[in-house]
């Protein structure tokens, strides 16, 4: 891991990166110019792959390492590539650097400080997938990151690492940059495809998956920019040295040292909070953490020994998601917390499918009712029923995971709900009334 922290670290090594600085990294930029990147051995791995390795070699390497997507879902990269390769070309590649969750600007940091790692990863993937055109999809508001990326693409083209005859003519690869704005749902992979095609950034129904029918109906591989940025390291040092890999996380909430950190997979959440986060914020003891962004799970203190990993998290009903890890201190009422998240989602849904567009809003309303001391016992059943509708029937990952906060708080913090409903008070005495009346069930007149 020490190596990772030195040569292969994705972000500047100088401690946690503050999440709120626009392009001005406190530690100074480490690898932002191609010269610095080359000096650290950059593009060597790509060069070797492009000139010496076959598709099968690269796929073999991926399979051996078991690398999984870092965009949240943790889908095995090799399997995604095989699925794309099973379909006739031309194929496209999209690097998702959108950072849908505003609390976890991981790719923004990556683009601002280490854009060539991403570009080198794109080169490796393009070579293996037979891709000639790739897009980096990012939020339009991250202007510094976009500026840096544009400069990096120009540098790489100039030095022959990108372009129609890169690597001495062995690779033809054009990298386009697509700046978009589509809210939280705009980060979903098929929403990215819609946006790139010139449509409103709304997710598409899967199946068909992008590997079968993506950009303009062609097989397309969509990866988080972070996944791709890990490829050079994997290709250079091999699967063993790469190990389980690491994940960028955004620590936030009631933690002593909030910011972006890079943490090896397998580290227990508790250790992440103490070692990287400096423990809870002054005077706080954590009630819970939320991992994975606005739709992520809320885990109680007792589950903090869960290691960071796709499968381990799945077992406790959580997922890596946006990579945000938020500490919820003593003063956080779980009903209010769930309400706040749900309200955010109700404003961010792309509006395409009914369960998500209307369901998030109605669930927010019911949670507001409970918060306002107007809750009834049957409200819990209502939350369950419509939570189930969302997670069964929504079109995309947004709606399907939208009820996670609700469900995990209802499971792990049932007492918070009970106290609100039965005793008419807030367990942390922080809730204020948001409604004057709750929803009523009424028959057709």
């Amino acid at each position: 891991m020490s190596e990772k922290n030195g040569r292969w670290s994705l972000l500047p090594a100088a401690g946690n990166v503050p999440a709120s600085l626009d392009g001005q990294w406190r530690g100074g930029s480490q690898t932002d110019h191609i010269d610095k990147y080359l000096a650290r051995g950059g593009y060597a791995a790509a060069k070797r792959v492009v000139s010496e390795q076959s598709q099968a070699d690269v796929l073999g390497l991926l399979e051996k390492s078991g690398l999984r997507g870092l965009g949240g879902g943790g889908f095995p990269v090799a399997r995604k590539w095989r699925a794309a390769l099973a379909n006739e070309g031309p194929r496209y590649l999209v690097a998702n650097a959108y950072d849908a969750d505003p609390a976890a600007p991981l790719c923004r940091a990556l683009l601002e400080t280490n854009p060539h790692a991403l570009l080198e990863g794109i080169v490796i993937a393009a070579h293996a997938l037979g891709v000639q055109e790739a897009w980096v999809y990012a939020k339009a508001e991250n202007s510094a990151a976009l500026r840096r990326l544009r400069a990096a693409v120009a540098e790489a083209e100039e030095q022959g690492y990108l372009g129609l005859s890169a690597f001495g003519g062995k690779l033809a690869l054009q990298v386009h940059i697509f700046a978009s704005w589509g809210g939280f749902a705009g980060g979903e992979e098929t929403a990215a495809l819609e946006a790139i095609e010139g449509q409103r950034a709304m997710p598409r129904q899967k199946p068909p998956f992008p590997t079968e029918s993506g950009l303009w109906g062609r097989p397309t591989v969509v990866h988080s920019a972070e996944t791709l940025a890990n490829l050079p390291h994997l290709a250079a040092d091999g699967a063993e040295a790469f190990g389980k890999g690491s994940k960028l996380l955004a620590l936030g909430g009631d933690v002593a040292k909030p910011g972006l950190v890079e943490v090896p997979f397998g580290t227990p959440l508790r250790q992440i909070l103490t070692q990287w986060g400096g423990g809870p914020a002054a005077g706080q003891s954590p009630r819970a953490v939320q991992i994975g962004g606005p739709t992520g799970a809320v885990l109680p203190e007792s589950l903090l020994d869960t290691p960071l990993g796709h499968d381990a998290l799945r077992e406790v009903g959580a997922f890596v998601g946006s990579g945000s890890l938020r500490v919820l201190g003593e003063k956080v009422c779980m009903v209010d917390f769930a309400r706040g998240r749900m309200d955010y989602l109700a404003h961010e849904s792309c509006g395409k499918c009914v369960p998500c567009r209307l369901g998030t809003n109605r669930l927010t309303g019911v949670l507001e009712t409970i918060m306002s001391g107007l809750g009834r016992k049957d409200d819990l059943a209502l939350l369950d029923e419509f939570g189930n509708l969302l997670s069964q029937s929504s079109l995309c990952g947004f709606g399907l995971t939208a009820p996670t906060v609700l469900r995990t708080t209802m499971t792990h913090f049932a007492e918070d709900y009970r106290v609100h409903i039965e005793e008419g008070r807030c367990p942390t005495a922080t809730c204020r009334a948001l409604r004057t009346r709750g929803f009523e069930r009424k028959a057709a007149v």
Binding site: C350, P355, L389, S393, K442
Partner: protein, 798 residues
């Protein structure tokens, strides 16, 4: 690319094997849908495969002409091996797939999805008020006219089913208002008083609902000049039949005159209104009583072709307690009738009224007006079960009556003078509900108490006095002592003899009696035309069947109900002046404008309504939220014939895809985000500001009433029909935009529900449209007057 790559270009799964071939050369796949083996052309969706096999899957956002979008989530199906249901509209059928299109879980998902849609669907299919009104007045229709001050038009709408709107405006217990949807916002529309208002405006000069038909030469006798008989007479006369009304009492009106007191219903106006029956040529003969002065056989012998019996329910029910025969014990009907005759009836000074219906409260309040100083009204159940309208109960209390609930009479006490001295009561509790759902009163042991009084008025219901038909054969009487008729055609067992009103249903209401009279008239007319009466019965029953309604959450800004000015309580003492002061024209207009206009011209064709009924969305759990929980859009009627009401839009994007992918102009899109997402034009602009080519395809594909076509006017062009191919090129190329600018030009006549409506010949033969005399309106001009456009369909406002 280097040669190694080729191994992936034809992956093992893609190795071409011989496929089974469809007759026309397409590859086929076999899948199982709902346990049935189904064969489908490869590349069709599961939805299409199911449809082709005759298996129905609900959809709201797919159209075979367009690519699937997957937004409505109604077409979800269970696929073996998948962790959650998938939308069949975008799922490609694959070999060996096992699909289930219906299960309890899927039903629940679809139900909840529809419930969500209806929780933010600010419009309504059908007017519940009209459905609940026994005679089905087109309430939103007349309120719409009222709101514009068109009293005659409003009255014309009303008179189609109710000849006496002013009278009903004063006495109807308003079943319509009980279900008014506006109640879900704040208070119901004051429907009753609204038709009362315009009823008064046309008292002297009533319009006819439709022109009276030419005399048919048929004669009908109507027995009883109450609301049932007179309504029947009115509609039969309109049909051109000769009607004679025979009434036992000296004047017309039945219980309206001899039951309902003057202070609620002034008799001068009543006569003005009832006289419209005679204005149509019907005749009234008073003082003629069936059973005494004539029999049914006499009527037929005189040449009548049919008879209607509307003899009401005038026999008071007995208290069946000791002391009932003492002097000073009256029945309410007898009491009110004598007051109605103009007699001076002595009561009190202390009166006990027993009962909780109209009659009880009329007797109570009449006693007070006649000078009683203490009136106790005693009812054995609770307020909720009272038959009288709550306003009357309130008024009685305010006028000075003492109300006692949950007490039943045990016996009437005799005084030393041999007259009534008081009544002994016993307290009651409510027990199990009876057949009508009213909870039965059960006496509480040992809770007896006495109220002293000088007069007892029993008002515990009336039953028809059927002694007059006792000797008539084939006129059957039920064990509830009502005349038995066919529920659909109102005919008794004796052909040609019909009956309705209180006489067939027992003591009921004026409006129910009017409804009987109206339907009986319809049925008698059919009988006189020699129709098969069994079929007539069927037809009327189908027409009268209560349609199912779905629960849609309404949202409109709160506007409270226009209060009715009432005579102050102190001015009501000892006189019979009418207590309702009536609305002013402005008030009546304002109140009518509150109506939500629960009429959607798309009702019964709308897929959302159809599916919601199918999935039983008869309740909604999201009523009564805050304003921010709902949307209230303004309808866009600026286009010459494409009408848009976003309140009914379900964001299915069929119009978006139709306009963009099939037609081309790309006028619509999803705008806004999250809960506020809505399909509309950019910036909500008028369609006139877009590239709209006025083809109407969007309205044709819209599954709801959100996009609709206005009635279209055809302008005549000098064109050579034999050569026009309706390409529309002339519109495109006219250098002055003359054709495109005209709101009336059209070259397509399709809509979703009818085939081609206009042929070329129609177009050439169409009458010249009369141009407005003022300066021709310009489409893009703000001041452009929509008056130019043809009438809007129901429920739309300019």
């Amino acid at each position: 690319m280097s040669p190694e790559f080729t191994e992936f270009h034809v992956p093992p799964s893609r190795v071409i094997e011989p496929h089974p071939q469809h007759a026309d050369g397409h590859a086929l796949v076999k899948l199982t849908i709902d346990d049935r083996e189904v064969e489908a052309v490869a590349s069709v969706t599961v939805l299409q495969a199911a449809q082709a096999a005759g298996i129905e899957i609900p959809t709201l956002c797919s159209d075979e002409k367009m690519e699937a979008m997957g937004g409505c989530r109604l077409c979800v199906v269970e696929v073996a091996g998948e962790t959650r249901p998938l939308p069949s509209c975008s799922l490609v059928a694959a070999e060996g797939m096992v699909v289930r299109t219906n299960s309890e879980a899927l039903r629940q998902l679809r139900h909840d999805t529809l419930e969500l849609i209806l929780s933010d669907h600010n419009a309504y299919c059908q007017p519940p008020c009209q459905i609940n009104c026994p005679t089905h007045i087109d309430i939103p229709g007349f309120l719409e006219q009222n709101a514009q001050g068109n009293w005659r038009e409003a009255a014309t709408i009303l008179m189609q089913v109710l000849p006496f709107p002013a009278t009903l405006g004063l006495v109807c217990p308003r079943p319509c208002e009980d279900v008014c949807r506006r109640k879900l916002v704040e208070e119901p529309i004051s429907i009753c008083q609204s038709h009362g208002y315009h009823g008064e405006q046309i008292l002297e000069d009533p319009p006819l609902p439709w022109p009276q038909e030419a005399p048919t030469g048929k004669r009908v006798a109507v027995v009883g000049a109450g609301p049932a008989g007179l309504s029947c007479a009115y509609y039969l006369s309109l049909k051109g039949h000769k009607v004679k009304v025979l009434e036992a009492l000296p004047k017309q009106g039945g219980m309206l005159r001899y039951g309902i007191p003057e202070y609620r219903l002034p008799k001068d106006n009543l006569d003005l209104e009832l006289n419209r029956v005679w204005a149509l040529g019907a005749e009234l003969e008073c003082g003629k009583s069936l059973g005494c002065d004539f029999s049914l056989d006499d009527l037929f012998a005189e040449g009548c072709d049919a008879v209607f019996l509307g003899i009401g329910a005038h026999k008071s029910n007995k208290l069946e307690i000791p002391g009932e025969e003492l002097p000073g014990v009256l029945t309410a009907v007898e009491f009110l009738r004598r007051v109605g005759f103009g007699e001076h009836v002595e009561v009190g000074p202390r009166v006990v009224v027993i009962g909780g219906g109209f009659t009880a409260f009329d007797a109570t309040r009449t006693s007070l007006r006649l000078g009683a100083t203490k009136v106790d009204t005693v009812y054995r159940r609770s307020r909720k079960e009272m038959g009288a309208h709550w306003t009357e109960v309130d008024d009685a209390e305010h006028e000075g009556a003492q109300l006692h609930i949950l007490a039943g009479p045990v016996r009437i006490l005799e005084g030393v003078d041999g007259r009534v001295a008081g009544v002994e009561f016993i307290r009651m509790e409510l027990g199990e509900p009876d057949a009508r759902g009213r909870r039965r009163p059960v006496p509480v042991k040992g809770s007896e108490f006495t109220i002293e009084c000088d007069t007892v008025i029993a008002a515990i219901g009336q039953t028809p006095d059927l002694s007059c038909v006792g000797n008539e054969k084939d006129v059957r009487v039920s064990n509830r002592s009502t005349i038995v008729v066919d529920p659909g055609n109102y005919m008794t067992d004796r052909p040609g003899v019909f009956a309705g009103g209180d006489a067939t249903i027992g003591a009921s209401t004026v409006i129910q009696s009017v409804a009987c009279g109206k339907l009986a008239a319809r049925s008698i007319d059919a009988y006189l035309n020699g129709e098969d009466m069994a079929q007539v019965s069927q037809r009327i029953l189908v027409e009268e069947a209560k349609p199912d309604l779905i629960s849609i959450v309404p949202y409109k800004p709160v506007t409270s109900r226009m209060p009715m000015a009432m005579l102050p309580y102190e001015e009501r003492q000892h006189n019979f002046a009418c207590i309702e002061c009536g609305y002013s024209a402005e008030q009546a207009k304002e109140e009518a404008a509150r109506c939500l206009q629960c009429v959607c011209p798309d009702a019964s064709r709308c897929y959302l309504q159809k599916l919601s009924l199918e999935y039983g969305v008869t309740t909604n759990r999201f009523h009564d939220g805050e304003a921010r929980d709902f949307h209230d859009y303004k309808a866009d009627t600026s286009h010459s014939f494409i009408l848009r009401d976003l309140n009914k839009c379900i964001n299915c994007t069929q119009c978006v895809r139709m306009c963009r992918d099939v037609i081309g102009p790309d006028c619509y899109g999803l705008m806004g985000r999250g809960f506020d997402t809505i399909v509309t034009t950019p910036f909500h602009a008028s369609l006139n500001e877009s590239n709209c080519v006025s083809c109407g395809a969007c309205a044709e594909t819209c599954p709801t009433g959100a996009l609709m076509l206005r009635e279209r006017q055809v302008e005549r062009y000098d064109l050579d029909i034999s050569r026009c191919i309706f390409c529309g090129d002339c519109v495109e190329v006219c250098p002055h935009g003359a054709l495109a600018e005209s709101p009336y030009f059209e070259f397509a006549g399709y809509d979703r529900f009818a085939p081609m409506q206009l042929s070329k010949e129609d177009l050439a033969r169409a009458p010249l449209y009369e141009k407005p005399r003022e300066k021709p309106p310009e489409m893009r001009d703000e001041t452009h007057t929509p008056v130019m456009y043809p009438k809007l369909p129901r429920g739309w406002k300019e």
